[in-house]
């Protein structure tokens, strides 16, 4: 009886030791796994937060750009109402006989613009670009435009030429183009002022 009791106790003790050992072996991997899982989850959450923040910043930037554009357009509409608006553009065609340096515009005897062109800007004009050199508000009626072009003419000589145009401002916006082109037959540049319909 006593022997049986002792055997039971020994078996119980060994089972308990085995159970403790098993528990002791399995506990550390569980804690490490859960810790690494938690760290991964935190990383993923912070990445998501960062991505969301980045998206917020991008959308805010876009909104600022949109707002800036709207303000610019609104400012133009307010400062230059379509009814009194006149815009002057410079364009170049070929440009073999003339290297543009500056353009001075006078409307009704008053200087309104004096623009110096850098090599890059003149190059852009030669590639087909059009530059809005001036925008103004003018009353309806007759006006006189004088444009003075300076630059280098044929054989790299200093060149200065004026072009005059009388134009009538009615209701609605007006666009005037000052075109510099080559007159091949005379081997001279030509300055033409024309109105856009």
């Amino acid at each position: 009886m006593t022997r049986k009791l002792l055997m039971n106790l020994a078996a119980g003790l060994s089972l308990a030791i085995a159970a403790t050992a098993v528990a002791g072996e399995s506990a550390p991997p569980d804690a490490a796994q859960s810790a690494s899982l938690a760290a991964d989850a935190e990383d993923a959450a912070s990445r998501d937060r960062f991505r969301a923040l980045d998206q917020d910043v991008q959308s805010l930037k876009k909104e600022v750009l949109d707002l800036n554009r709207d303000l610019f357009l609104l400012e133009e509409e307010l400062l230059f109402p379509a009814n009194s608006q006149v815009a002057f553009f410079i364009s170049m065609d070929v440009g073999e006989y003339f290297k543009l340096d500056s353009v001075r515009l006078t409307i009704d005897g008053k200087e309104v613009a004096n623009y110096l062109y850098t090599d890059r800007e003149a190059g852009s004009l030669l590639q087909g670009g059009v530059h809005r050199v001036h925008m103004a508000n003018l009353k309806a009626g007759d006006h006189e435009l004088v444009a003075i072009f300076t630059g280098q003419g044929p054989h790299s000589r200093e060149y200065r030429r004026g072009a005059t145009m009388n134009f009538s401002k009615g209701i609605g916006a007006k666009y005037v183009e000052l075109e510099i082109s080559d007159r091949v037959r005379k081997q001279q540049p030509e300055f033409v002022i024309k109105e856009w319909e």
């Binding site: 500056s102 110096l116 062109y117 850098t118 090599d119 890059r120 800007e121």
Partner: protein
Amino acid sequence: MNIRSVLAGLAFSAFAASSLASSGLAGQPAPDFALKSSSGQNLRLSEYRGDVVMINFWATWCGPCRQEMPLLDELYSRYQRVGFNLLGVNIDDDSSRAMDMIDELGVSFPVLFDSSKEVSRLYRVDAMPVTIIVDREGNVRHVHQGYKPGYEQQYLDQVRSLLRE
């Protein structure tokens, strides 16, 4: 006593306002301009966007300018290849004097002529020389009025710091 102190205060504020005229530009976008240069080309400030630009207003009658220009030229020669540009803006009525001085000092940076003083007014220049440092974004970051020996070290530190941005 009170009136005297008020007057002194007013005089001081007027002096401070005038001496800070161009300093008020710090932190603001640098006003754009185009001027004829000593090489005959027209140069526009906005075409240097992306580079650190120093604008130095000077005149032939200004002693400190003469002292400062060779030091600025050294700075320009050293940092030009890493995105630094220097535009000297001469405000003399007669640009031929400026050309003579450039030849005499042997400066290599572009010198622009502002004989009509339009650009000087734009930058509220009321001392001589005035040195303005513009960052890569086109904003005025530092304004120096006048020149004293030692300023070149400040220029160097500021230019290097802006080049690193």
